[in-house]
C-alpha cells in the first residue's frame, strides 16, 4: 500500500527519492517537477522494472487527486 505524502515532504525528500511522473510523455515534456523521470502509466509496469533502483524510495505523481 503506497503512503500518501504532501508537497512539503516531497521537497524535504528531494535528492533522496526518485520522482516519477506517470502522465503521458507530451505532458511531461511541457513541464515536470525538477529531476523527475517519466514512466507513463500505461507502460509503468514494464519500464519500472528496468529503470528504477529497488533500493531507492520512489515518489509517483500525476496531475492531481481527481
Amino acid at each position: 500500500m503506497p503512503r500518501f505524502i504532501e508537497r512539503a515532504e516531497v521537497q524535504k525528500l528531494a535528492g533522496r527519492t526518485r520522482l516519477v511522473e506517470v502522465l503521458p510523455a507530451r505532458e511531461f515534456e511541457k513541464n515536470h517537477l525538477p529531476g523527475a523521470i517519466n514512466l507513463p502509466l500505461r507502460q509503468l509496469e514494464t519500464l519500472a522494472r528496468h529503470t528504477l533502483d529497488p533500493a531507492r524510495p520512489v515518489v509517483v505523481y500525476c496531475w492531481d487527486s481527481a
Binding site: P2, R3, E29, N31, L33, Y61, C62, W63, D64, S65
Partner: protein
Amino acid sequence: MDYVDGKLDWVAAGLPTEGKDAGKPTAGSIARHDSPTCELSESLGEVKKRVRATGWDSCVVINSEQVVLGTLGKKELTGDPELSIERAMRSGPSTYRPFVPIGEMAHELVDRDLPIAPVTTSDGRLVGLLKREDALRAFHEGRAHRRDDSAAMAS
C-alpha cells in the same frame, strides 16, 4: 510514496518546474495571491469596507475549505450594504487551473468580457485571482520578448 496532489499542487504553489514550457507565464503565475476573500455569512457592507481598504475592487467568496463559491466585482460591491454575501455575489463563476497558458487566459477573459477570474485547484480551492489587465500585460510582454529574440537571432 504517492504525491497525491500532484503537479497541479506544485504549479499552484509557484514552485519551479523543468521542461519546454517551464518559466512561461500561466494563470497561476500571474494571478494575484493577495486578493481579498469573504464568506457567505458576512454582509456586503462590511466586506465592501474591507475590500476598499485594501485597494481592491473585487473579492472572492470562499467557504472554510477555501473552495470558491462566487465573486463580487465592482458592480456587485455597489449593492445594498445590508445584503448578505450569498444574495449579492455572482455565484458559480468559471474557474481556471493554474497551468493554463497566459495567452489562452487573456483571450478567454476578453472574449467572455470577464474582468477577473478565480484560479483554483481541480477541487475548487482558491489559488489566486487573475485580473484581465494583468493577463493582457503578461501576454503582450511575452510576445514582445519573443519578437526581440527573433530579431536578435536574425541579426
